[in-house]
Symmetry: C2
Subunit: 211 residues, 2 copies
Amino acid sequence: MNDWYTYKQKAWERILRDKEIGYLDPDIFDVLEAFFKRKDTYTQSSCSGRITIVDAEFPWDRKKSSVVYKNHLGIGVEDFIRTISKGKVWNLWLTVQGPIFHVYTRTQEEAWEILRIARSAGFKHSGILTINKKGILVELRTGVKMVHLLKQNYIEEEMVNLVNIANKVLLKGKEKMQKLKIALENSLNSHDSMELGKNSERKSEVQYHLS
Amino acid sequence: MNDWYTYKQKAWERILRDKEIGYLDPDIFDVLEAFFKRKDTYTQSSCSGRITIVDAEFPWDRKKSSVVYKNHLGIGVEDFIRTISKGKVWNLWLTVQGPIFHVYTRTQEEAWEILRIARSAGFKHSGILTINKKGILVELRTGVKMVHLLKQNYIEEEMVNLVNIANKVLLKGKEKMQKLKIALENSLNSHDSMELGKNSERKSEVQYHLS
């Protein structure tokens, strides 16, 4: 992986460009920054968590599905009414997704360390997806999730309760994202000291190494 | 990992015992069997997919949460009425979860092969969780998921529609599980021929190996 640091550099430039244009999730930049501060880590496509309303037979469908509402900061009752009043082709699903990070590390040792840090911050559904020229791809996910089947008509009370809980679920995901950012920042010192000492490397070689 | 085959043997005996007692999911045995037919693979805790109704503030809570309904084959309108009529402490969540398999492999090469097979069968949220004395732990998950906030009272039509769609979601997970079983069975021949030839090993050593 000679090009690894080039990939990291390109990924960072892409993030700055997306931030400039406004493509980047409004609340994710400082978390990505915390990842990039780790020498052997960079992030690819990531999401700070969002609320969507999707028109699809099933919420995981990609074909024959359209996103009719999407917001990373929450949903208001007015947004909700406006969106569902437009009708549907299949089913309307109100989906709240927690934060998801796709992280490339240079070494397996760093991948395990990222997983350890992420799990400590509540990213329990995290694992190594693959190894390719860009590095070792680690996906970090929380258990924060809501996938709610919507109907056509709501009484006010029911609608307000649904919107409130959806926003609470989103907030729980954002809290875990902040916890992750802090855990990453705290890890930097210990990570540096790991690099000074040899224990971590020796330990890693007992377990596995990348050839 | 000298004990690996002992762990596999113990895992298989545990499955047979659970099947005997009735602890095993009613529709999972032949899929587990297909995993065990692969020399370097065995399964740990796995789930064929299920519908639950959980009383909790948030559906992912473990503490302060109780499962008030659970069935791996589906839910009927009567079950639904009976369950929600008992009231709640927090919120009632109707959760449909697709199949999940926890697989231990003896080598990294086998872990990547299991991931390749699983993804080909629609288990898209799959990855390597950790490496320990039992082997390389791979989690196989689909995107099949419904996490629906329930209310106190339903009109018949709404309730019937909700129950129907929940059962359809469950069925989609079961279909992916059958696809995985077939993919595993089809892989056995090609796996054997991989063991005869040396190509696969050479390929694997270019990528990585377990030390």
